[in-house]
Symmetry: D3
Subunit: 132 residues, 6 copies
């Protein structure tokens, strides 16, 4: 299996209003350094799983609606707790839509798996990975 | 598959008394930066695979008996060669006990896979990963 | 010059309500991975510039009032724009108080310089460094 | 599954002469920081998946023919576009030959899977992973 | 002293045609991950040493003429050996021109020192730092 | 000021037998990832502060007597507490001898400052920096 993984980041505010989260029930925030990995079983005629430039652009576009936002106020996450896992899954689904729309280039149809990793600090990260 | 991965470290002495290890047959030591990844197929009602705070606490507790020790003198490793792989497997089993005991919170039963990664330098690491 | 540098992190919400900040005028947030460096000209009788364990504890204590907070609501920053630089300076002053109080151990009087570095993403960081 | 992963790097020139690559059609270059991961299901009597020293040596030998070269002029890649993915696959095959030749030590026969990861910058990487 | 440091990268080909460079006399290449640090003695009314967004943009513009190029063919480096040190100095001078032109914003006049660091691998880097 | 910084590592055992060190009074160990920075005011005719290959070789040679050793048993450190700071200073002096002996190449005489940084984990490091 081939993979290409590109990195970007977002800076968001949110609260996690459930007792299990202790002090993180407060309105606070995070920088999420986001890695998006695209998996393919073979390469196209240009030797590509996915073009790194295009993958970087699409990741940036998928992140834009969250960047510099307070997630507590977004319709997108109404009724949800915006844990690292939930955001990872949201980004997975948003990228999957772009893959299915062919926005990752001629090789889009070849992409069979995605993994989104959110680094929330130097000591913790969450991920969601699944087949398309 | 979701995953949460948390980081801590230990500083230990040991020797690797077999010819294959060359100079590492000497009593020497290592900092192991340890990543523990917990995998789940779905999230609980709080949007969690595993609570990062609790995962960090349990990892720290599992590491404590090894930290600042000479592994050559621990009953735990009697008759074993304490390679990076062997320590990774030991930590996997110790964490698995904690998962089965429910110490990772209400979501413990949901954890279906663990991965322990030990970074022994900027240029080498070992891991053990398996289903629970 | 000797130095000891230890790392911790905080997760905060804030807004930067000035036109120059563009989208960062919104309420958003950040993980700041914080490095605190303590400089000394010589070592004490135990071979220490500063004890790493104690430095880690004091850094954690200095960060605690900011962690999981919305900086826009803290008296501490009333009337200030909480840029990375301003937070770095605040943490410098808070650490300096602890150094002067002797909380860094018998070597506290020996500490002649501090540097606080805040990593706000994988691609940007700010710092404040000065003599005590 | 156990794994041992070791790191080295190469510095190469190449061009990617297809329209999809935009400015990378020019002759340019890259540092590839290369991670090679060796997977085994169990450990040998010395507690090893693979000896880290030996893995490091063999990785270095496999990289040597590419290091400080212009890939456009190597017979090895004649008629190929030397994308990150193509180089990862090349290195995978070259390492697989060494594994099959027993060059990874007495445990060579135990190695059941390899992964080659090429970091081309702080923000992008490619990989090839497969069973042997 | 305050500082803001931002990161970007370039991918270039070059040769180092002097005997001291051994195999690097060949045409080869490098990814340089570039950190640019801007130092100021105080902050402006917005709490800024330099705006991170603007610093990132200007760094990108200064890197653009080198990115995806064969440095051996650029007039810019005619008669020079394009070592890491020489490129760092070139980027320092190019950034200094932008600082003096006021392109770093209202705080440009406040910038009193620059440091350019080029990471050429996970194990080596070069820098040039000086007062303006 | 120019600088070149290269990285290597050592794996050692030691104990810190003074009350201030708490559990680190035990025989334990560390991986020290070591960065050595060489500073010069100008470049030689080859565009070099110091040749990276040569700097890497000399750093490796200076580290060799410590690597895979129990520092408690080395004459070198008799009567000393082998803190991170003490080891950093030792390596500084050992490198300084090599610089003065001309072992860093024709540019050795130009080297005016050294910095040795020892990373003992992902969260702590010590350094010694001084003019030659």
């Amino acid at each position: 299996m081939y993979s290409i993984e590109v990195r970007d980041h977002i800076m968001i505010a949110h609260s996690l209003p459930r007792p299990v989260f202790g002090p993180a029930q407060n309105l606070h925030g995070a920088t999420f350094v986001v890695d998006a990995a695209f998996f393919t079983r073979d390469l196209d005629d240009d030797g590509l799983a996915v073009d790194i430039g295009r993958a970087t652009t699409v990741l940036s576009e998928v992140l834009a609606p969250l960047n510099y936002q307070n997630l507590d106020t977004l319709d997108l996450f109404r009724g949800k707790v915006t844990t690292t896992e939930v955001i990872a899954r949201h980004l997975f689904e948003a990228l999957a839509v772009r893959v299915r729309a062919g926005d990752l280039g001629t090789g889009s149809g070849r992409i069979c798996r995605l993994r989104i990793t959110l680094h929330e600090s130097h000591a913790a990260r969450g991920a969601y990975e699944a087949d398309l």
